[in-house]
């Protein structure tokens, strides 16, 4: 099957600055994919190249098999992009915007689908309100609605939940998950890693314009064997035997965070505490998550860069 997105040896340079450095990436149809990285890592540059807003310096990018440069009409017809910036046109109301956006994609009578999007994004009662009069969260919903008017098989959401309240976040993800189940490929960038972990199966991490990690979240988390044992104890003096572990003391809540690699270490730590006569008031074990992978990846890459 043709990949939804295929990027080969893609680079973008602005003078001395390299925004994207020889990237290869393939996203299959039907995937729910996360594109992660710190600010300035190159996520938005990559999305902008796919959307045709930025021209690559070298390399190729394809959407549903079509080249984003030479076959831009085919790729844009198949792509729905929710831009990161909260932009709007102050001359029009929500319905006018959606009708016009449909028209740009060559769709004349789109009212049934527009009504459904308005309903699903909880915008139905704002349909005749001018964009200027909407709150930030509402404007964000309109941007999402605009990206969906032409039912694109590939949807890219560039930080769609930045500055959005919890209610909308929930309903938004339900809607996007539904779209994904209906067969749409969804690519997401977000700074909320728990969102990516809950929704996506595969993830790419970008750092300084390069893909440094590309794998399923399951595999990534499995490779990290960094568990954290959280302990609240009856005393502040720890037995000497614990020195062979990295122990961090968190004054808030008087917690000790001990990093371990294997479950068997727990038994050793507990016996050391018991021998020292220290009572355990509270004990938790934290599993590694995507955030740990992210932090570790970013740190590792920094070390390589040094």
């Amino acid at each position: 099957m043709t990949p939804a997105i295929e990027v080969q040896q893609l680079s973008k340079r602005y003078g001395a600055l390299t925004a994207l450095d020889d990237i290869d990436l393939k996203i299959e149809q039907g995937e729910f994919f996360a594109l992660l990285g710190s600010n300035g890592a190159g996520k938005t540059t990559l999305i902008s190249i796919l959307a045709g807003l930025i021209k690559p310096t070298s390399g190729t990018a394809r959407v549903m098999g079509y080249d984003v440069q030479s076959q831009y009409q085919q790729t844009r017809q198949r792509l729905g992009v929710v831009p990161q910036e909260l932009v709007y046109d102050p001359f029009f109301n929500v319905r006018e915007m959606l009708v016009m956006q449909s028209g740009y994609f060559g769709i004349k009578h789109n009212d049934v689908w527009i009504d459904e999007i308005l309903f699903r994004l909880d915008l139905a009662n704002k349909a005749h309100v001018n964009l200027r009069a909407l709150s930030g969260g509402m404007k964000r919903r309109v941007l999402i609605a605009q990206a969906l008017v032409h039912k694109p098989p590939v949807i890219i959401l560039d930080e769609p939940t930045a500055g959005v309240d919890v209610d909308l976040r929930q309903s938004l993800w339900q809607f996007v998950q539904q779209l994904n189940q209906d067969g749409h490929t969804v690519v997401l960038t977000t700074h909320y890693l728990e969102e990516a972990e809950a929704l996506c199966r595969r993830v790419a991490m970008l750092k300084q314009g390069r893909v440094v990690v590309l794998d399923s979240i399951e595999n990534l988390v499995r490779t990290i064997r960094d568990y954290t044992l959280l302990l609240r104890l009856s005393t502040n003096i720890l037995p000497d035997g614990l020195q062979s572990w990295t122990v961090k003391h968190d004054p808030v809540g008087e917690l000790y965070r001990i990093s371990i690699k294997e479950y068997t270490e727990i038994e050793t730590i507990l016996s050391l505490l018991r021998e020292a006569g220290i009572q355990i008031i509270d004990l938790q074990l934290r599993q590694p998550d995507l955030e740990d992978v992210f932090v570790k990846t970013m740190e590792m890459d920094q070390a390589v860069a040094l």
């Binding site: 045709g52 807003l53 831009y72 831009p83 932009v87 029009f92 016009m100 956006q101 740009y104």
Partner: protein, 251 residues
Amino acid sequence: MTGFYTLLYKELLRFWKVAFQTVLAPVLSSLLYLMIFSHVLAERAQVYADVSYAAFLIPGLVMMAILQNAFANSSSSLIQSKITGNLVFILLTPLSYLEIFLAYVVASMLRGLVVGLGVYLVAAWFYPVSPQLSGWVIVFALLGSAILGVMGLIAGIVSDKFDQLAGFQNFIILPLTFLSGVFYSIHSLPSTWQFLSHLNPFFYMVDGFRYGFFGFSDFSPYISLLIILACLVVISGWALWMLRSGYKIRH
């Protein structure tokens, strides 16, 4: 073609929603020019025999309104979309550069023509004057508005700030329209200024348009027509190249 029609509709709706500012205000200011200049210059400036100064002035004012408003429409729409960032809504679509070009230019032409018609109707109510050769009037109105619509498009693409666009408007469009023979016949000018006026493409637009009203003009309408057709081709080629290459809008 649905994409083109939609963008055209959006551009028309944009100025129509603020018609007070985009249509009525320029009609009023043209009327003020007519009142003041025809009053002050009526005795002093007989341009053509059998044509009063007010009657001479009206076609010039109508053409000036057409040109200035055609320019204002595409340039202000583009710069607003660029600065607020909503140009992205058009850039993300499969609209071709030709469709974008045509939609902006045709909308600008229509705005120019609506304002021009408004100026004519109001002015003719005060000083009745009617075109002798309507065909020439229509052709020059269409071509003039198209050229200025394209110029507005270029100015909107090139400018990054409102300030720069105001520079285009105040240092290029305004002097060229005021010095194009709207208020006077260039035959009344010293020879150097006559020569300079012939380098001003706006002169041929105004002069040819006026030919349609009176059947005579400062310059041959056929040559004027050829000159402004050439201008339209050159400037459209330039604008299309900019849109096609994504100059300043697709980085």
